[in-house]
Amino acid sequence: MYGVSDIYYAAEQYDFTLSIVEFFFDTYGYKRALKILHSLKTPVEKYALRVNTLKTSAIEVKEKLQAHGVNVIIDKKFNDIIYIPVSGPNKIRESNNIIVADKFRR
């Protein structure tokens, strides 16, 4: 069981709206919902990439990425999926100069 204060606390902690948090609590239960909210705050551990098999193979891409020092895992089932490990969370320096960005996009 959960109370209104649990919804407020989780919405504040994970920075989602009250209605979404309440929906997750109702649908998945309190404990599971918190796990879902927590997982959404972190990136995947293995970042997937699609290999363009019109031009190359997973093995060839793996060799080329490894030449740049990138660790690569090839999917066991599909020949067009590879993974790159994501590292973190890392400590970072902070500056008083702030740039606000919505996401890292081109």
Binding site: D15, F16, T17, S19, I20, E22, F23, F24, T27, K35, I36, H38, S39, L40, K41, T42, P43, V44, E45, K46, Y47, A48, L49, R50, V51, N52, T53, L54, K55, E60, V61, K64, L65, H68, V70, K77, F78, D80, I81, I84, P85, V86, S87, G88, P89, N90, I92, R93, E94, S95, N96, N97, I98, I99, V100, A101, D102, F104, R105, R106
Partner: protein
């Protein structure tokens, strides 16, 4: 995640100038990166292109793939695991006629082209001309030859064209609550309910332009069942579709499977149980 910050993504520059060390922060929450500012604010907001901040430290890091030659040469596409799986589940064949109703930025469409070995035709529609330009860039980079682009709201396709398709990809706009990492989100659950009506409108069009016996993948990158199982259930009850068992089941069954056993053939990727974004995929066949 380690990639540089491009001008397009900048919302606000507070006092700093080219050459300053800066923290990069989302609109809400703590800084996520630290780096060297490469452009003045006026250049960032006037040109909206180029690297605004060279990232030196990031909370989560991975290589800046887009700056590598393997990416520029079109050997890779940046796409989540469930999104790639969708292409395999649809099993497109060379020579088929495929429609992608909400195609941009193009991960699924270009994957299907790849699986068709550049043979056959894919009509890739999107209502955003800007996003179609991004897709066009990917098509050139990847060496794809069998995608035709159309700038249209796909709900209008049945009114204007008589074409029928062997296979359809329907990955409509959704609340995107499965994205990872998600630093904050302002979506309300009512928006999920509203979007499901738009998703159903797209499904109605799909039901008119798919060949009898044709296959359709319906997918979203969100969690609420309003946009997932309930939309699929509507398509089955009202639009003549039937859920199909995918040849590969790397995820959990659909919600409400106990009440509606066919929903057990849906694929649910849960971010707390799998190392993937939250995602939903269903393969359907047009029966009547």
């Amino acid at each position: 995640m380690g990639a540089n910050l491009y001008s397009k993504g900048v919302l606000k520059v507070e006092n700093s100038i080219n050459g300053d060390y800066v923290s990069v922060a989302p609109p809400r929450g703590a800084p996520v990166a630290y780096g060297l500012q490469k452009l003045d604010a006026s250049e960032i907001f006037k040109k909206r292109q180029g690297i605004a901040v060279q990232i030196l430290e990031s909370i989560y890091t991975m290589p800046s793939l887009r700056e590598l030659r393997v990416y520029r040469e079109g050997l890779l596409f940046d796409q989540s695991y469930p999104s790639i799986i969708l292409g395999h589940i649809l099993e497109p064949k060379p020579g088929e006629r495929v429609l992608d109703m909400c195609a941009a930025p193009g991960g699924k469409t270009t994957h299907v082209a790849q699986l068709m070995n550049n043979k056959g035709v894919i009509l890739a529609c999107d209502r955003s001309s800007n996003r179609l330009k991004t897709l066009q860039d990917h098509i050139c980079r990847l060496g794809i030859e069998n995608i035709k682009l159309m700038n249209i709201d796909s709900r209008l396709l049945a009114d204007n064209y008589t074409l029928k398709f062997d296979k359809i990809i329907l990955d409509p706009p959704c609340t995107s609550l499965g994205h990872r990492p998600k630093i904050y989100d302002t979506v309300e659950i009512q928006q999920s309910n509203s979007l499901s009506q738009y998703q159903i409108q797209l499904f109605k069009t799909a039901s008119k332009i798919i060949k009898p016996g044709g296959l359709l993948t319906y997918s979203t990158c969100t969690l609420p069942y309003y946009e997932n199982e309930l939309v699929v259930q509507y398509a089955c009850e009202k639009l003549g579709f039937k859920i199909q068992e995918p040849f590969f089941k790397p995820a959990f069954k659909g919600e409400f499977s106990e009440e509606y056993p066919d929903l057990s053939m849906c694929l649910r990727f849960y971010p707390d149980l799998q190392d993937t974004p939250g995602f939903f995929i269903t393969l359907l066949k047009k029966i009547n």
